[in-house]
């Protein structure tokens, strides 16, 4: 599964005695940023998220997870890793396993070599998560930087501080079954530390390309993604029966995808605004600064949408599906203009 020469090139690696944990908004961008920073390529979470074209919107009514349609404010799992890897020219070693024992043995071997690795896991089986957040979501990313006795030392980017996880639990979380099942997925940058330092520069070209990718999705001429996806969802909401319990569940589910699942607020819009700001400075593309400020304002509108929705879910305001739908289509209008302008500015 992995070429034999991998270990040959990395004899100069020292065991990871410490790992610089940084608190992040989103698990995948946080894991990739922290992992690459550890291997000698300093990278912020917003830059990882941006280069990975992490921002999106999708409403896939035909995919049901726990009876709810798939609604995402982000690109599909693993897109950020792939995008960062391609932009920076840093290949990642990616491994999956047939059996849990093989997966655990390989993880232990890598840790013993001093490797720090990223993993895909299921939140439900991670005991350090708060009880109310443990749902069967199989695409949670974290970084393992060592082990001590029967515990793994884990840098889970959505936690403020490093955590520990017993061996059996982590194995279970890596081999959870079902949608997006991780199959023990682990990853780490393939090049040795020195090689990574050669790829320090994020070029304006990389940034432009990653932004164009987001704009293309957001303005895609298909009804289920981007701003058209928002409008479709809005039309669906407008028709809902205010008295039906399913209405409240769907609205609550949308807000949960926007705010609860590590998004950094406003359905990743604030995080992407942080990327545009950093890109404006480090990529010497001053035009992006203005877009960063505009996206922050759009993020505030998403927060207002979440607040209005949650008040109805909680029963503080009467349920008014057309009003929620109107807020959502207004967001679609704002983002359509925003991404059209952004694309034009980069042309």
């Amino acid at each position: 599964m992995y070429p034999a020469d991998i270990n040959q090139t990395e004899k100069n690696l020292t065991p990871a005695t410490s790992f610089a944990h940084r608190h992040a908004a989103h698990c995948e961008s946080g894991s990739v940023a922290n992992l690459l920073s550890h291997y000698g390529r300093p990278l912020s979470e917003p830059m990882a998220f941006g280069l990975g074209s992490g921002l999106s919107f999708a409403y896939l009514n035909f995919i049901r997870i726990q009876e709810m349609p798939l609604i995402a404010y982000r690109a599909p799992p693993r897109g950020i890793i792939k995008g960062v890897s391609a932009s920076l020219g840093i290949p990642f070693q990616v491994e999956r396993f047939r059996s849990p024992s093989a997966g655990t043995a390989r993880l232990d071997a890598l840790l013993d070599q001093g490797r720090v690795v990223g993993l895909q896991t299921s939140v439900f089986w991670l005991p350090y998560f708060p009880e109310d957040m443990r749902f069967h979501f199989n695409a949670h990313n974290l970084v393992v930087y060592g082990r001590e006795g029967d515990d793994y030392l884990i840098s889970d980017p959505v936690f403020e501080h490093p955590v520990r996880c017993p061996r059996a639990d982590l194995e279970r979380a890596r081999f959870a079954k079902g949608m997006l099942e991780p199959k023990g997925l682990l990853y780490y940058p393939r090049a040795a530390t020195q090689a990574l330092q050669l790829n320090q520069v994020v070029t304006p070209d990389n940034i432009t390309r990653s932004i164009r990718r987001v704009a293309r999705t957001m303005l895609a001429p298909v009804p289920i993604v981007g701003t058209r996806g928002m409008r479709w969802l809005a039309r669906r909401i407008a028709r809902l029966d205010p008295k039906d319990a399913a209405t409240s569940r769907l609205i609550g589910h949308i807000v949960r995808m926007q705010e609860e699942i590590g998004t950094g607020g406003g359905g990743f819009r604030f995080l992407y605004a942080a990327f545009l700001q950093e890109a404006a400075e480090s990529g010497s593309m001053p035009v992006l600064a203005e877009f960063s400020a505009r996206l922050l304002d759009i993020g505030d509108e998403w927060r207002a949408f979440a607040l209005a929705s949650a008040r109805m879910v909680k029963g503080r305001d009467a349920f008014d599906p057309p009003a929620i739908a109107a807020l959502l289509s207004a967001q679609a209008d704002r983002e359509a203009v925003f991404f059209r302008d952004l694309r034009r500015a980069l042309a």
């Binding site: 608190h23 992040a24 908004a25 979470e45 917003p46 049901r64 726990q66 009876e67 439900f124 089986w125 708060p130 009880e131 109310d132 957040m133 443990r134 749902f135 069967h136 959505v158 936690f159 403020e160 279970r172 959870a176 079954k177 079902g178 949608m179 099942e181 409240s248 569940r249 609550g252 589910h253 807000v255 949960r256 705010e259 609860e260 590590g262 950094g264 607020g265 406003g266 604030f270 995080l271 605004a273 942080a274 700001q277 960063s292 400020a293 922050l296 993020g299 505030d300 927060r303 979440a306 607040l307 949650a310 879910v313 909680k314």
Partner: protein
């Protein structure tokens, strides 16, 4: 959002965990701020957790009335629906649904019970009965 607008209301579902939120600070720089929680998130997370506890409570009543087996109760108590449970146990939905019949459930062989118990992350003994108290 400005950093002084980042909600610090506390959020019971986070159990003390703080989340990183991006907000505008001094000189318009966007930085991460640890947020103790926003009531909006609490409402929707609680709602999602309650959906399963409500299903579990309803299943419990059916089990007590002899209309269903503890398997159905445990499925919801472990936050799964039938589709997720079928995927994680590798047992077809229609078959699981049959095993919700109490008469069929009591006749299940230990191997199959173990498969169910493993998928749910509980022991076989636990699987075969309802817990005395309602789970949180």
């Amino acid at each position: 959002m400005d950093i002084h607008d980042v909600p610090q209301e506390g959020n019971a579902t986070l159990a003390g965990l703080r989340k990183a939120v991006y907000a505008r600070g001094a000189d318009n720089r966007i930085v991460t701020v640890a947020s103790a929680g926003w009531e909006v998130e609490e409402i929707v997370t609680q709602q999602a957790a309650d959906i399963f506890s409500d299903y579990a409570a309803a299943a419990r009543k059916r089990v007590e009335a002899g209309e269903s087996s503890p398997l159905e109760y445990w499925m919801y108590a472990r936050r799964m629906d039938l589709a997720t449970f079928a995927q994680s146990s590798g047992i077809w939905r229609w078959r699981i649904r049959r095993h919700f019949q109490p008469a069929r459930f009591v006749r299940l062989n230990p191997t199959l019970l173990d498969r169910y118990a493993y998928a749910l992350g509980i022991s076989r003994q636990t699987l075969c009965q309802l817990p005395r108290d309602e789970l949180k």
